[in-house]
Symmetry: C2
Subunit: 147 residues, 2 copies
DNA sequence: AATATTTTATAGCCTTGGCTTCATTTGTGT
DNA sequence: ACACAAATGAAGCCAAGGCTATAAAATATT
């Protein structure tokens, strides 16, 4: 029964959206750690596992594992019992991520989100902001600034 | 050397941001599946595992596992070889998620993101939009509409 | 009614990103 | 120089969220 109600094959609503979101998520941790390492080197001259872990809110073994993945992906280098450093590629990623983060926070604030909340939300948000969207944000901020 | 450059303990930049982002991520899948099940029931009268899987862009065993988790969390119910249904709590979650999704897409479009891109990005974005930010988005959209 | 197809379930594997626990190395302070 | 504290590393556990392959049940077709 209800042959008519169902019949139609599920309207192929694009699963690409979800696959894309999952891909973005896979990059997120790399991005966060790269940026964090970059910050630490800037602020304190080196990035130690302990500091990375404490700032990321994880235990050191977890930070060590993440760094191992960064190394595997060619984004960082380190020698046992020494600090962690970024490769050129890693540094570039960190810069891009930092810039994007700022833009996202600025946009949130521009549309009326309290700065503290903007900082919090941006942390998760930013990884899903595509190039196209980022450019749109920049244009919006420029226009708002010019006004 | 460079005792002065380092010395200071890592300025306790709040790790809560990351912990919060991780928590949001843990909810994301539940939210996506709940909404998808709700959509399917609305459109076709029932939510079958095969359709859920195809729309989410995963294999059926993966969808089955996700549904198992939904059931475990009290958001859905189902009997073997029968469709999946949402509990009251699950339906409520789905409604909230759907509304938030729309608001996020609308806001993105309002600041100049192309609609298609807005749809894509919203899929990952939405899970990290806090209540406070959502309210800000709504206010912004209201103001823009009134103008 | 018997058979074929489709759908669902189950088992088992992999990777990721958390964790704890224990061993080792480094670096500090006396 | 030695002893102790702190940092790093290594091993192993867990849950989540993917997957493939196989089995069983439900549905459709002849």
């Amino acid at each position: 029964m209800t042959k008519d109600a169902e019949g139609a094959a599920p309207p192929p609503i694009q699963p690409e959206r979800f696959q894309q979101a999952r891909a973005a998520q896979a990059m997120a941790i790399l991005e966060d750690y790269a940026e964090m390492i970059s910050d630490l080197i800037e602020e304190m001259g080196e990035a130690r596992i302990t500091d990375i872990a404490s700032r990321m809110g994880v235990t050191h073994p977890t930070a060590t594992k993440a760094v191992a993945r960064l190394k595997r992906e060619g984004l960082a280098v380190s020698r046992p019992y020494r600090g962690v450093f970024l490769t050129d590629e890693g540094a570039e990623l960190a810069d891009r991520v930092r810039a994007r983060h700022r833009t996202v926070v600025d946009l949130l604030v521009a549309v009326g989100v309290p700065p503290e909340t903007a900082e919090m939300d941006a942390e998760g948000l930013e990884h899903h902001v595509s190039e196209v969207t980022l450019k749109a944000f920049e244009r919006y901020l420029d226009a708002a600034a010019a006004k």
